[in-house]
Symmetry: C2
């Protein structure tokens, strides 16, 4: 079936949001941990994490205007730091529940049943249950004027992960720990590896990489 | 195990690239179809698609400097249009093969064995075998000076998908057609739905959405 731009513009707004967001495909579920200036631990689910470069190690996060994720942005701008946490499929319902609009004086960690854990030299809280915990430092916020969103760029400061996931060539096998993926605003997935493939070259048949 | 920023900076560059890229998690596999000014159809694999907004329907793509994806960027800047194509798990090896550095006068469609198909009013080629085909128009390119990457923003002009994937509330069930996800530069996955969840509200137990 064909859906034209004109159809998209005329759809009811929640229908359109679900369509365009889910159509953009599978993505990583990130739980972003921050601390407010009043010392309250905040946790929010994001599916807009993007890899920007490995050297320097920079990742982006997209913030839409006027969403519950606003607390997260305010806290990052105030403290300069945040944590990125990946959880296994056992926790997908708790992860989703962090998207509820809790008052700013309530910690989503407590509200949904995750424990906080801290590094001694880093202000933002981590999710103790997370299989992967990453300490991030704010580098830049780029406003996208076309639609009022913001691209927040941060640098990786420290990575904490289960050693067995890290392969000899640097690859991190998130699938081995059933780390969750999502699509749209409400669908959660586990993944099954089809294979890793060797570096592609013209006129050489694709082959599987075994590591 | 803990990996510090200092370790990351000292890793061998390909090890570091695989680590930081794969750690950024699961993402959608997009085959981007473009046409060069000489009329040659180009196809390249991307895993940097991001949802920016539903109204207007805007998505981003990240371009790193000096990669094989440069042809794609040049073609989009010259013609103003591109296609986004999603394929099923049957095609993951062909999709990966589009990342090989073919000469600019060779069409990756032919080289890897995908057929082109065209809409009469749209210059960029689509992948005939793709389950989802999306016509995109260039809106803006935002340079990211921190690391020399570019964020290309495009608007959705037309969506062509299998009708059974589109649910009553607008959700597109990519998993039903085994659309592929990836992580890092070489790992491909199929997904298994854990569930769709209702809109989260404070103090109300998470519940499954049945559509």
């Amino acid at each position: 079936m064909v859906i034209q731009l004109n159809d998209i513009q005329n759809f009811e707004s929640r229908y359109r949001a679900k369509l365009i967001n889910s159509l953009s495909g599978f993505r990583q579920v990130s739980l972003i941990g921050t601390q407010s200036k009043l010392g309250i631990a905040n946790l929010a689910i994001f599916n807009s994490l993007i890899h920007l470069s490995a050297n320097p190690p920079l990742w982006g996060l997209v913030f839409r205007p006027d969403t519950v994720q606003r607390d997260t942005l305010d806290n990052i701008l105030e403290t300069g730091v945040y944590s990125i946490n990946y959880v296994s499929s056992n926790y997908f319902q708790q992860a989703h529940q962090t998207s509820a609009k809790y008052d700013s004086n309530i910690s989503e960690f407590e509200a949904v049943g995750f424990k906080t854990t801290y590094d001694s030299d880093f202000l933002a809280p981590f999710v103790e249950e997370a299989t992967v915990k990453i300490a991030m430092k704010l580098e830049q916020v780029i406003p996208i004027e076309l639609n009022g969103t913001k691209l927040l760029i941060g640098s990786i400061q420290r990575i904490n992960l289960k050693e067995s996931m890290l392969k000899k060539d640097g690859f991190v096998a998130l699938n081995e720990e059933q780390i969750i993926a999502s699509s749209g605003l409400d669908a959660y997935y586990k993944t099954e590896l089809l294979g890793r493939l060797n570096y592609a070259q013209p006129n050489i048949k694709v082959s599987f990489l075994e590591i």
